[in-house]
């Protein structure tokens, strides 16, 4: 039985931190940034689709949205990583290519899953931000002679985006933490690396404590950066 006396934090830190700050951190940061940028893009297009008056498109998007919101992100990641390639292979088989092998790297699967999941939530943020812009803004643009589309893209959307920035920041923070779910699809990110180290050394308490602090530090730094960005970008409402 382990006791508090034989905890060895210095040793665990000396061995684990270099592993975490190598490839593991790199994966977390790259996946976070890429998935976040793509999620905003995805969310933006999704929001425009939802705001369009196209009934069928709207219906499809609503169903899709309920699907994403009604299933856990972990399940979505597992599905994309393990199941999606199988479907592709089945389709390839039907198309007369029985030897076709489809594999997704864990990182790519992670980016796809996080993009779709966060993009879906972010689309609601963008949609409501667009709807919240005063109608008078559109009317003023129309009265000057701009088209509806121009009024939307030049006047309404820039304001909606600015107003959404604080919420985007929140989503970025949760997204960084949710990259840990990629451990379950074998991505060698922070959690996975920590687990591997524990299985060799049995330093459960030390390692998970170190992991928690590493996440905390990443998020504190990020939240500081977000505050600065917000102050610069949200000049005017």
């Amino acid at each position: 039985m382990r006791t508090l006396q034989n905890l060895n934090f210095p040793k665990a830190m000396a061995e684990l931190l270099p592993k975490l700050f190598g490839q593991a951190l790199e994966i977390v940061l790259i996946v976070s940034v890429v998935a976040f940028v793509l999620a905003i893009l995805f969310g933006f297009l999704f929001a425009l689709g939802r705001l369009s008056h196209h009934k069928i498109l709207n219906g499809i998007l609503v169903v899709f949205q309920e699907f994403i919101r009604g299933t856990p992100l972990l399940v979505q990641l597992v599905y994309i990583y393990y199941v999606f390639p199988l479907f592709v292979e089945i389709i390839a088989y039907w198309c007369g290519n029985p030897t076709f092998k489809c594999t997704l790297s864990a990182t790519v699967a992670g980016v796809i899953g996080l993009t779709i999941n966060y993009g879906t939530y972010i689309s609601e943020v963008i949609r409501s931000a667009i709807l919240a812009i005063d109608k008078g803004q559109t009317e003023a643009a129309l009265a000057l002679g701009f088209s509806k589309r121009q009024a939307m893209f030049r006047i309404v959307i820039p304001q909606a985006f600015r107003n959404s920035i604080p919420v985007f920041g929140n989503y970025l923070l949760t997204l960084v933490k949710d990259t840990s779910l990629m451990a379950y699809i074998t991505a060698p990110e922070l959690l996975q690396t920590t687990k591997a180290y524990i299985s060799q050394t049995f330093t459960t308490i030390e390692s998970y404590s170190i992991l928690a602090v590493v996440y905390l530090v990443i998020c504190l730094i990020l939240s500081g950066l977000l505050k600065v960005a917000e102050r610069k970008l949200v000049r005017r409402r």
Binding site: A141, L142, G145, R235, R236
Partner: protein, 244 residues
């Protein structure tokens, strides 16, 4: 020929008939003031004139062409008919100067330098040149409305519509906006103004229209309307307004 001629104009929102049958015309260079109780349809009428509301029926002839025809070039028409709103609707993420130059640069394809020079001249005219580089939310309502007027004028409109331009202002700020509008009228601008400012109507209007219940009840010179109203509804309205 009248600049704008309105025939049998109707507008319904669902079952609610806001404009029943409006007939009138606006001559070039004329200042027309539209008065009437709230809910009389005067704002809706004004908004129909630049198609912010789509009329349910009737005709609006601009230079003899029906603006309600599907093929009519609405955006070009709107560039020629400026509009000022009750709540100003300046673009809050642009400086005052950029608010004024935005239309000319992007719609009239005016070179930036020229647009800025013209904008500064207009801001000078409405007394806002000193605020060219600030954002609208630092301005008072009266100042914002004057900038909004400059923004509309920057498009070189043939005509200006004013939808209760002073209704959202503190009483002490109303004067500066009315003053700007009066100067505009003196310059010969064609104007249609919905307002509750009866002194403005009396002093500046060439013609006053009294609307009630979605129709034009009385259409006459300000002298006649204010000193000798013929319709009992006009009389009742004016006595309520003026005997405060």
């Amino acid at each position: 020929m009248a600049l704008l001629e309105i025939k049998n104009l109707q507008k319904s929102f669902g079952d609610l008939k806001v404009l029943k049958d409006v007939n009138m015309s606006i001559e070039e260079g004329e200042v027309l003031v539209i008065i009437g109780p709230s809910g009389s349809g005067k704002s809706t009428f004004l908004r129909c004139l630049n198609l912010l509301e789509t009329p349910s029926g009737g005709e609006i002839l601009y230079d003899g062409k029906d603006i309600l025809k599907p093929k009519f070039a609405v955006r070009e028409y709107r560039q020629q008919v400026g509009m000022c709103f009750q709540r100003f609707n300046l673009f809050p993420f642009m400086t005052v100067l950029n608010n004024v130059t935005y239309g000319p640069i992007h719609l009239l394809k005016m070179p930036k330098e020229q647009a800025q020079a013209e904008a500064m001249a207009l801001l000078e005219k409405v007394g806002m040149a000193a605020k060219a580089n600030v954002y609208p939310d630092t301005l008072s309502g009266g100042q914002q409305q004057r900038v909004a007027i400059a923004r509309s004028l920057a498009m070189h409109p043939k005509m200006m519509l004013f939808d209760e331009p002073t209704s959202a202002l503190d009483p002490e700020l109303v004067g500066e906006v009315l003053c700007t509008m009066k100067e505009l009228a003196d310059d010969g601008m064609t104007m249609a103004v919905v307002t509750h400012e009866m002194t403005f109507a009396e002093d500046v209007a060439d013609r006053v229209i009294f609307m009630d219940g979605g129709v034009v009840v009385e259409d006459d010179t300000p002298d006649e309307i204010f000193s000798n109203p013929k319709n009992p509804r006009t009389k009742a309205f004016l006595s309520r307004i003026l005997d405060r």
